[in-house]
Amino acid sequence: MPTTAPTDPAAGLASYSEVTKDERALRRFLHGLPGVDQVGAEARAAALGTRSIKTTAKEWALDLAIRMVDLTTLEGQDTPGKVRALAAKALRPDPSDPSCPSVAAVCVYGDMVAEVKSVVGDAVNVAAVATAFPSGRAALDIKLADTRDAVEAGADEIDMVIDRGAFLAGRYQQVFDEIVAVKEACQRPDGSHAHLKVIFETGELQTYDNVRRVSWLAMLAGADFIKTSTGKVQPAATLPVTLVMLEAVRDFREATGVQIGVKPAGGIRTAKDAIKYLVMVNEVAGDDWLTPDWFRFGASTLLNDLLMQRTKLTTGRYSGPDYFTLD
């Protein structure tokens, strides 16, 4: 790996065309990445979790965390009314405080994209899960149709799932090609494209070595964001998994000049946890990633805790959950 970033990202990526030319080359490359020591990675994540973020730093971090939330509902029982309510909350998370920022995006199933769009317009992004979310078990043409539908309905971002079975069986090329195909399906007629987030479901991949390999695989295939989990499998996002992914995007930018975003999703419920993630982003990837363009939280209940902590900081008092809207 070169240690200084190439100035031209296209050339930087092109220098990796050799490693993605066929299954064997891809395997050699992914298996040649430095390993991850589980004990060491978990110890590092735990150590970063002991940082003490107080007063002005906490205020700043809470607002940033709110701006990074992909406010999510992915339930079979979702109704248009519920989704519109969530969209309204995404715009104005704390109706009693106009200084409270909007969240980054609303994340829904593809069929609800238009509902969200009708409420938020262009003020907040709309993300749609696609590709036979959450299992990813469908034929490729169905996954692509799923993606195109969501893009046509106006989705700004597509959260796809990888084929974990193929990855675990070592069929890396298949996973790679699928990401490339979905990325093509994200194209809009005007030449722009919906941002592609690639969900690994790290709870199913299990080892940190796998997380590092799949991160590089997805980045080489054209992911704009890499995302830990669907939220449907436990464990979902953890600090050490996110650590390994942050190391990957940091190293990838140094190698290619291309910056990729990271989205931990599922299981992040408290402001305290969210701040631990932000500390990790700061100290592992660096402050270039400390914006909603490059780091997101996939969450639903997290937002209310962020709002409660924010209110506590400004008023000095805790309010009960009754003072914040339920989604």
Binding site: P34, G35, D37, G40, A43, R44, I53, K54, K58
Partner: protein
């Protein structure tokens, strides 16, 4: 926009530092006969307290008190002695925050280390040895092993309370009584420990704590009625102690200096290896006898490891030891700072290349930035002499045998680290590295169950674990 961490200072209000302290002899605080000296906060140079100095008569009184207490303490059933040790361990836990804050104020180490490493490990040592007190017959030293008598113990300033625990807990568990001298720059937590002994109703004279400098230590180890000498500190003083006790029947353990090799192979988990390099040399400002002060990195990954290491070092936070986000605190004394500065200057003069990240050091107090020297060879003094500060010498190697040769080419032999994802290589290296502790894919981890000690000029004897008990018992060898 940058994420600026606001100051997050731990409150000092929990500790109550008295203006002056006496000696703890025979269960009570008494005045010393010597000239009192001051202990200061190395982060601010503020005087914390006046400390009594023990002269020869004071040392003699303390040894006599320990001798009197030995008669009943050594005959007490092990399970009864264990109760005192368990009680002390619990009080240490109850007063953990107080101890951590006081340790950071007097020593300069970051609160996150005194809070998360030093004090919990101190309590663990007392709990562990409490468990041994009634099981000494099964320590592998033969049937019915007996206590030695009075232990004279001299400890250093880098882990004031932890080194006290390493010395006092096994001595007491085995039925010995102790006279302990903490370092002159860091006496406060030992004196707080004396209060804890009172709080635990430990019989008078079982633990005596006398303060002072080198002269007091000499008087203690030279006292004819001391049966056992235990010392942790510099190799020079260790040699002097070995000479002083030669020809007597005192038992001695010495835990001295080190110049540990931390060996990173090309197949290591590099991000975690970098963490291990950082904790190996910058933990406790590098004031660690087993610090990984020589980085041996395989040539094929040297450039990449150094790049990652420098990037990581740029995130280290140097400053107020009581701030919960501080990674590197103050150098313990002006004297130590002068030594680190001098040896680093020698590194420059010998042609090694010095690098430190940009970091602002506080205006008052004793500070040294985290520093690495590259282009270092075995012949350089900074590769041979213990700097005892946050200064890392980086050397490279090509083959495992070259790594072993370089790692072992030192008068010391306290610890070593091996970083590789290959299990067989770890075993291969551990067999051949001449060091008391070999860490694999980790560094600077301490546990009361694990024996610790060195080869050659790093000293002799082991502390901790079953092996550590042998230093405080007679009746067979381990």
């Amino acid at each position: 926009m940058a994420f600026e961490y606001a100051p997050a200072p731990e409150s000092r209000s929990i500790v109550d530092i008295k203006p002056s302290y006496g000696l703890f002899v025979d269960g009570a605080f008494v005045d010393g006969n010597g000239a009192a000296f001051k202990t200061i906060n190395p982060a601010t140079e503020e005087t914390l307290a006046e400390i009594a100095e023990a002269d020869e008569a004071d040392v003699d009184a303390a040894v006599q008190a320990a001798r009197r207490a030995f008669r009943s303490w050594s005959r007490m059933p092990g399970k009864e002695r264990a109760k005192y040790l368990f009680r002390i361990a619990r009080i240490l836990q109850e007063r953990a925050r107080e101890l951590a804050v006081l340790e950071s104020i007097d020593n300069g180490k970051p609160i996150k280390e005194s809070r998360d490493v030093d004090v919990p490990t101190v309590a663990a040592h007392f709990f562990y040895h409490a468990g041994w007190a009634d099981k000494l017959d099964y320590a592998g030293l033969g049937p019915n092993p007996r206590a030695l008598g009075v232990a004279g113990q001299v400890i250093p300033w880098n882990f004031p309370l932890l080194m006290l625990a390493w010395k006092v807990a096994p001595a007491l568990a085995c039925g010995n009584t102790v006279v302990l001298k903490p370092a002159e720059t860091t006496p406060l937590t030992a004196l707080l420990f004396a209060e804890i002994c009172q709080q635990a109703d430990l019989p008078a004279g079982v633990v005596n704590i006398i303060t002072g400098a080198g002269g007091t230590g000499q008087a203690l180890v030279g006292h004819p009625d001391v049966d056992k000498v235990a010392f942790t500190g510099s190799t020079d003083v260790g040699k002097a102690i070995a000479r002083a006790v030669a020809g007597t029947d005192k038992k001695v353990t010495l835990e001295l200096g080190g110049k540990a090799a931390n060996i990173v192979f090309e197949d290591a988990a590099l991000d975690q290896a970098v963490e291990g390099i950082v904790s190996g040399i910058f933990f406790n400002q590098g004031h660690v006898c087993c610090a990984g002060s020589r980085l041996l990195v395989q040539e094929s990954v040297a450039e990449e490891v150094l790049h990652r290491l420098k990037r990581r070092m740029a995130t280290l936070r140097v400053g107020d030891p009581l701030d919960k986000n501080t990674d590197i605190g103050a150098i313990n004394s002006a004297e130590q700072l002068a030594r680190i500065t001098e040896l680093s200057g020698i590194g420059d003069a010998e042609g090694a290349e010095r690098w430190s990240p940009d970091c602002e050091l506080p205006a008052s107090g004793y500070w040294f930035p985290p520093t690495i020297f590259t282009g270092v060879s075995q012949a350089h003094r900074i590769a041979r002499e213990e700097i005892f500060g946050p200064v890392l010498s980086v050397l490279t190697f090509r083959t495992p045998s070259e790594a072993i040769e370089k790692a072992n080419n030192t008068p010391y032999g306290l610890s070593a680290g091996v970083w590789t994802e290959k299990g067989s290589r770890i075993l291969h290296m551990a067999d051949r590295l001449r060091a008391g502790v070999v860490w694999a894919n980790t560094f600077n981890k301490f546990d009361p169950t694990s024996p610790f000690g060195g080869y050659q000029e790093s000293g002799y004897g082991r502390e901790g674990g079953r092996q550590g008990l042998a230093a405080y018992l007679k009746g067979g060898q381990a």
